[in-house]
């Protein structure tokens, strides 16, 4: 439905000559109009009485439904917000909701017999959408409530299982253009992350409470020291403070002791060891101070240290949660659904992973073949680019073997499954991806490296301080000074700096439509290595586009009028081309509108139709023509009117604009380039020659590689000592993405998107990659700066503490200052420079 694309922020293409659809707001030809005079509750808005125009019947239906239910508010609310989120590339189907347990949907039955279920919604755009959905329950019997969560596009239904089913709610919502389906696998895991996140928040809140209270008690004590305080008051305040500090160390601070203990057991030094030691010393110091009523106070430093460390831990969690695991979830083919045919001729929609050998499945045009098998009925063209990288679709007929994951382009076929999802080609690739993830050696984090040195240095200094003061002035002074040193030696800046800088960089990257899941990748991108690029979908658009039109311009709108009725990739390519021509020429398909009659599609030939009494044919030329000069196998589509050739379209996979500019930018930054493609067509070599003629050197250039071979190449490059970066968009790149030091997935034409790659670039990826590399370099520099500041701070304070100059007041001032400095430095790090200042 076209109104699923509704986006209030999107301007219409040509305001003066087109009409906006009253429902979706997109430019429309205005075929469907209706006068909306509402019977009840006359609207104060006069426009409600005037004729409305719609782009399609779907929009008209949705508009009338919304009005009948009295939910007109939708249109006024829609302008309130335009919610920009990561593009949702998968499609959901309510078919899977028919059998909830089979589809793995988790239904909670509440004590009163009602049920609660969380489902994914597609088509959500703004607050108006969520309002519309949430306003529905009174109209659906048995539905108690519906709560939308915009942040992750999910919906929680609370219903009475005796009166309604999620399936029926889904059917109802689909009338409005919202598709409801089971949550995908990674979304289920997101729910688990939610629990972890809540736990972090919980302890931060507790630590904050304790730290804030400890601090104001400390202020009382300092003030008392300056102006005089009754001894019993001082004693009381010390005890209260010590109690708060103790609580802080015991509850929110527990994890640091635990990880320090693990570090001691495994004998791997970790930053948490001095942290735990500091906390322990601070705790003992507070208790000793409280019971002896003398000496420095430590509980405020203790509590604020716990708070800062807790915040650091949370930021770290945010920056790299799921980083190691995410690449294993690259492949979402388990979410493919299949239409299984039973012996009696019935149809049942099941998830692809439930298919067994021998099952017969129906594959409609436009859908994905769910498993490896043999065609038993019909013939069609299949696009296998996502699995093999082959850019040209192949023709498949009865008896031919098809690969699961191929896209059916043309006609309905019936496939008998010969291998289950796990055994099939997709399953093999998925298996390889998981192995690659397991094999992967993670680079040691910079903070850990420095942290280890820090641990030993601080411990050594503490011992030296203790011994020397003991010899010089006796035990009590020596304990006091050592305590001061260990408390003040604050590794928190060290622990906070890297995660903070990376988090800030990730946030800024997301604004540029670069989604970084694994924060560690930024560190790895800072040193040049080899960038391996996939061809189909990465260097090229990966789908068919019109290269050339040789014929009169005035028949183009007629062609568009016919082709716009089909979803075939060639039809879409022609319509896109004609639409772009229209903008420059000022012709409108509106002029022809619905004039095309009797339009039909013949498999293997093309489209036939009649416009103004003339017979049109758009389709295959008599022979498949290989033309030189273009890239790879271009295809010709001829247009005949009344049997006479009128013109020829040339279609092919077109190079993305700005390709050589971006590659040159990468080369200037010291990166070597390589093309690893699965495509066997000569296009790979042609691109290589084209690039070389422009002075861009390619380290390697290979076509026709299987996913396994791509992996071999990456391993070879890695063993040669290069940092390897793989850029790709298809399933055939998944293994290489997983094995490379940094895998960057880009948005290609493939439906099975690699959204879960460590880095996913939503648009203009060729332009974004050099910027990303610059940003990672800047981020690493910023981390180094923060480390330097933190080390300087530590050197000064440790020096003061060891020599006995530290006063509790100085400690109290230095503690927050160090934290705030790191925060400011991380925040002000210019990871992503403004676009106009970019070197590109």
């Amino acid at each position: 439905m076209s109104h699923m694309l509704a986006d209030s922020s999107k301007p219409t293409l040509n305001e003066s000559t087109s009409i906006r659809c009253a429902h979706c707001g997109l430019e429309s030809r205005g075929h469907f109009s209706e006068t909306w005079a509402l019977k009840s509750a006359p609207s104060p808005d006069a426009s409600a009485q005037s004729p409305k125009y719609f782009c399609c019947r779907g929009c008209m239906g949705a508009y009338s439904l919304i009005h009948e239910l009295g939910l007109e508010n939708f249109y006024s609310l829609r302008s309130l917000s335009s919610h920009e989120t990561q593009p949702v590339l998968h499609s959901r189907s309510s078919e899977l909701l028919k059998n909830l347990s089979e589809s793995g949907v988790d239904v909670q039955t509440l004590s009163d017999g009602t049920c609660q279920v969380r489902l994914g919604v597609e088509g959500l755009h703004c607050a108006a959408c969520s309002w519309l959905i949430e306003s529905l329950p009174p109209s659906i019997p048995g539905l108690k409530s519906a709560k939308v969560r915009l942040s992750d596009h999910s919906l929680e239904l609370h219903y009475d299982p005796n009166r309604t089913e999620p399936y029926r709610v889904a059917g109802y919502l689909s009338k409005f253009g919202y598709a409801l389906g089971p949550l995908h696998r990674e979304e289920v895991e997101e729910q688990a992350d939610r629990k972890l996140r809540q736990e972090h928040w919980f302890w931060i809140a507790v630590a904050f409470f304790l730290a804030a209270n400890a601090m104001w008690i400390a202020v009382c004590l300092y003030a008392g020291e300056a102006t005089g305080i009754a001894p019993q008051h001082e004693r009381f305040l010390r005890w209260m403070g010590a109690l708060l500090g103790l609580l802080s160390a015991v509850f929110p601070g527990r994890i640091f002791f635990r990880s320090a203990w693990q570090s001691i057991q495994t004998r791997i030094p970790h930053v948490d060891v001095p942290v735990a030691l500091g906390l322990l010393v601070g705790t003992i110091g507070s208790i000793v101070g409280a019971s002896t009523h003398r000496g420095h106070i430590y509980f405020d430093s203790l509590a604020s240290l716990v708070l800062l460390l807790r915040i650091g831990r949370y930021i770290q969690f945010r920056a790299q949660f799921r980083s190691g695991m995410s690449i294993a979830k690259l492949l979402k083919f388990y979410d493919i659904e299949a239409v299984r045919l039973s012996e009696e001729g019935g149809k049942l929609t099941v998830p692809a992973k439930r298919l067994k050998v021998g099952d017969r499945v129906e594959v409609r045009a436009g859908s994905v073949v769910p498993a490896d098998g043999v065609v038993t009925k019909g013939q069609t063209q299949l696009q296998t680019a996502f699995i093999t990288g082959e850019s040209r679709p192949g023709r498949f007929g009865i008896g031919d073997h098809v690969i699961g994951g191929s896209l059916n382009l043309e006609a309905l076929i019936e496939v008998t499954v010969t291998q289950t999802a796990e055994q099939g080609r997709l399953g093999q690739i998925s298996e390889l991806v998981q192995q690659a993830t397991a094999d992967r050696t993670f680079l040691m984090r910079l903070a850990d490296k420095i942290g280890r040195v820090f641990v030993w240095v601080v411990l050594a200094l503490a011992v030296i301080t203790f011994l020397s003061w003991w010899i010089l002035q006796g035990l009590s002074v020596s304990i006091d000074r050592t305590l001061a040193l260990l408390t003040i030696a604050c590794p928190c800046a060290l622990a906070l700096a890297a995660p903070l800088v990376i988090t800030v960089a990730i946030g800024r990257a997301a604004k540029e439509k670069i989604w970084i899941r694994d924060g560690n990748t930024l560190e790895r991108l800072s040193k040049p290595g080899v960038v391996c690029l996939d061809k189909t979908g990465t260097l090229t658009f990966g789908d068919l586009r019109v290269i050339d039109w040789d014929g009169p311009l005035d028949i183009l709108p007629a062609i568009a009028a016919m082709e716009s009725r089909f979803e075939h990739p060639i039809a879409q390519a022609l319509v896109d081309f004609i639409r772009s021509q229209n903008e420059s020429l000022g012709i409108h398909p509106k002029d022809f509108g619905d004039l095309a009659d009797d339009v039909r599609f013949e498999v293997g030939q093309g489209i036939f139709g009649r416009i103004e009494g003339r017979d049109f044919f758009i389709g295959r030329a008599d022979s498949h023509v290989q033309t030189s000069g273009d890239l790879g196998g271009a295809r010709k589509v001829v247009v005949k009117v009344d049997g006479n050739l009128q013109g020829t379209f040339l279609l092919g996979d077109v190079l993305r604009p700005g390709l050589s500019k971006s590659l040159r930018a990468l080369q200037e930054r010291g990166w070597k380039l390589a093309i690893l493609s699965g495509d066997e067509s000569p296009q790979v070599q042609q691109i290589a020659q084209m690039l070389e003629s422009q002075g861009i050197e390619l380290e390697d250039c290979y076509g026709g590689l299987s996913p396994e071979q791509k992996k071999e190449w990456i391993i070879r490059l890695r063993n040669a000592g290069y940092t390897t970066v793989m850029v790709g968009d298809g399933i055939n790149d998944a293994v290489a993405l997983a094995i490379a030091d940094v895998g960057i997935a880009v948005r290609g034409p493939s439906e099975i998107a690699l959204k879960n790659a460590p880095i996913y670039i939503g648009e203009n990826h060729l332009e974004s990659i050099p910027r990303l590399f610059d940003a990672s370099k800047n981020a690493v520099k910023a981390i180094h700066r923060c480390f330097a500041a933190s080390l300087l701070y530590n050197m000064i304070t440790i020096g003061l503490a060891a020599t006995g100059y530290i006063h509790p007041l100085i400690a109290a001032i230095f503690m927050p200052i160090s934290g705030i400095t790191v925060l400011l430095m991380a925040w002000s790090a210019r990871t992503f420079p403004p676009r106009n200042q970019s070197l590109l």
């Binding site: 019977k39 009840s40 509750a41 439904l65 009005h67 009948e68 239910l69 009295g70 508010n73 609310l77 309130l80 917000s81 919610h83 607050a127 969520s130 309002w131 949430e134 306003s135 009174p138 109209s139 659906i140 019997p141 939308v148 969560r149 915009l150 942040s151 992750d152 109802y172 939610r194 809540q198 928040w201 919980f202 809140a205 507790v206 409470f209 804030a212 209270n213 008690i217 009754a230 019993q232 008051h233 009381f236 305040l237 209260m240």
Partner: protein, 62 residues
Amino acid sequence: MSVLFIALPLAILLGAAGLFACLHCIGSGQYEDLDTESYRILVDQQPEEQIARKKSDSPGTL
């Protein structure tokens, strides 16, 4: 006996009450979706009978 001995624990208890309210909010998932709630407050809830009347005026939807 100074007022401090009563006032200070009382102040901490009051603060703790606020803390528990905050913890409850975290537990109930209030901070999970900051997008929807900020708009929801702008929506006027229609009285149920009005919706019901509109429905009866326009038959044939469900």
